[in-house]
Symmetry: C2
Subunit: 336 residues, 2 copies
DNA sequence: CTGATAAGCCGAACCGGTTAAGTAACGACG
DNA sequence: CGTCGTTACTTAACCGGTTCGGCTTATCAG
């Protein structure tokens, strides 16, 4: 067990602790010769700063927080989150920041977590995902003074800094695509309506449909495969039967595909399918799924960069990360 | 910004800091009356212990570490990890322990992370996943004196504490199942051979096949959907064509299913498919997939419990968590 | 040669807890 | 009544860094 401290380095170099601290932190106050000597000794002893000590005096924890208010089950099923976390990590690692990840059951527990973190000085800032319509977390974060970057549309962010992808544009692209193929009755299998992204897509869906003179229907789900399958069954057995379905995530699209096959129908001959979130799933089904693709790892990285900027004094602002790109695959074709 | 410290509580209660500390930590040395008063004031002020300060003096970080040496891409595709992390979290949350999660590219970076954590006193212990054959991490962890619980078979653990699921028994169950259906030529689409679990399953596969007089072949992959699909193509176009395929994860099984459909073959008429890791994927395909199911969330929780036990002085030992259960679904049937 | 300025370094306070050692008050007991 | 042991605290050191005021010494303008 090495327990190399700054004091030991000071002793060996024959200087004071303070001088060593300046040297190691690349701050003025020591000569280049001394600095070099200190750095060399530190390297020899394999010194690493004790995190707790640094946090205590510097009043920074060098940690960002991320709370996921979803069931463990959802987290398993949705490839989204792990990718996002991976992106966050990739940025944090090189700044030697840490990520405090907390999985909780609901928004109340999420709020409790923020309060606890703020009181404990546990994190320097948080990343807030799954933005809601009139999100109750925003006023709490404001009051706690906890720096935060929101993941979601500025329309939901109430002026707080956020990073978003343009769901409206993506929805337009998707509807333009199916309309241009000749589809006239389109269904949307959406996530829970309280989610801000879902709400925005709902709006965009109806608006674009009106523009293109399409007939529409929307089924709200909890994002799970089970409800995606159920919604698909409802849609397919309805009348007039839609000829295209747009899903809010790829898991439900894959589940829907299986239902359609099970009913003896064919994709894309009888139904055109479009998925949101283009993970590996969309490429391994038969037929492969047309999808709105975006780089989730990059998204997580971008959000983290913004949070780093924010705590070092950057102006809070909304930042458009990207617009999901429509990748056309075998699941879309003209209706027959 | 609340900055409630123990000193403030002491002032308000008219006692010393030390007394407050004893009271808050439920230790002897203060009267019940004083303790009650301190607790009440602490609650009123919404005091929470400053983590850094506590860590510094108590020399415990109340944090466990978990390094995932996989590409961000793999993490996205494999539902496994997020579920495992969720299980770990569920236990840590109630002990108010934190999880330091680090995603790195390879084993060398993983080792570097352990060294850094040990030097910084960053974590009290680590959870080690993806055990290898003759794993280079074990001697390093031993030397660093970092408490660790390994996730994997005792045969790979070199005497260190571990939690495992019985892959051999599961493989036997799978082969008994397909053999009893009448299959005689069985293929295995395995993960990378350097992974300990894969190695164990390889052994078990060959051994059970010999016992049951089956003809076998093994294709090693990197666990990805792409290589799972490629392996399936090889297998199906080989001769004599196997009539059953056992996959090392469900992602590859789903990818394989699509390949088989694409080649105009049918499951389960032409081929029986069995997947390892029973996530939602296995239930949303058509046909649904027979799978070796285990509770990954519970597995993560169990491992974490063991690590908590270990750092509080429990005897290190190997602990069998469970044996994956064979769930028979529509993808298995007698060969025709 | 003197006084001002700055570079380089030291000593010590400080961050917010934990904990060993010391003390005062009090009751029991020989 | 003196002694011993408890109980209930207080005091102060300590964890390992950061940071600030101040002390030397060298540098340089006047």
């Amino acid at each position: 067990m090495s327990r190399v401290t700054i004091k030991e380095i000071a002793r060996r170099c024959g200087v004071s602790q303070g001088a060593v601290s300046y040297a190691l932190n690349n701050r003025p106050g020591v000569s280049e010769a001394t600095r070099a000597r200190v750095l060399q000794v530190a390297a020899e002893l394999e010194w690493a700063p004790n995190r707790a000590a640094r946090q205590l005096s510097a009043a920074r924890s060098e940690t960002f927080g991320l709370v996921l208010a979803r069931s463990a089950q959802t987290l398993i099923e949705e490839p989204y989150f792990m990718g996002f976390v991976g992106g966050v990590e990739s940025v944090l690692a090189e700044k030697s920041y840490a990520l405090a990840l907390q999985v909780v059951a609901d928004l109340d527990e999420e709020l409790a977590t923020y309060r606890k973190w703020a009181a404990e000085r546990r994190v320097d800032g948080v990343i807030v995902v799954d933005l809601r319509v009139a999100d109750p977390r925003l006023p709490v974060l404001r009051k706690l003074g906890l720096p935060a970057v929101l993941v979601g549309d500025p329309a939901l962010a109430d002026g707080m800094p956020c990073v978003w992808t343009d769901g409206t544009a993506a929805m337009n692209a998707a509807l333009d695509h199916v309309a241009s193929l000749g589809h006239r009755v389109i269904a949307r299998v959406a996530g829970p309506p309280e989610y801000g992204d879902v709400w925005i897509r709902d709006q965009a869906f109806e608006l674009a449909a009106r523009r293109l003179s399409l007939e529409t229907r929307i089924h709200h789900t909890d994002y799970s495969a089970a409800q995606g399958a159920a919604a698909t069954r409802d849609i397919v057995t309805g009348s007039p039967r839609p000829t295209a379905i747009i899903y809010d995530n790829d898991l439900m699209a894959v589940a829907g595909l299986a239902v359609i096959h099970g009913l003896g129908l064919s994709v894309p001959d009888d139904l055109t399918l479009v998925a949101w979130d283009d993970s590996a799933l969309c490429r391994i089904t038969h037929p492969t799924l047309t999808a709105l693709s975006h780089n989730i790892v990059g998204y997580g990285a971008e959000v983290t960069q913004r949070l780093l900027g924010l705590i070092s004094g950057a102006q809070p602002q909304a930042h458009l990360y990207s617009t999901p790109l429509l990748i056309i695959r075998d699941s879309s074709a003209p209706p027959c």
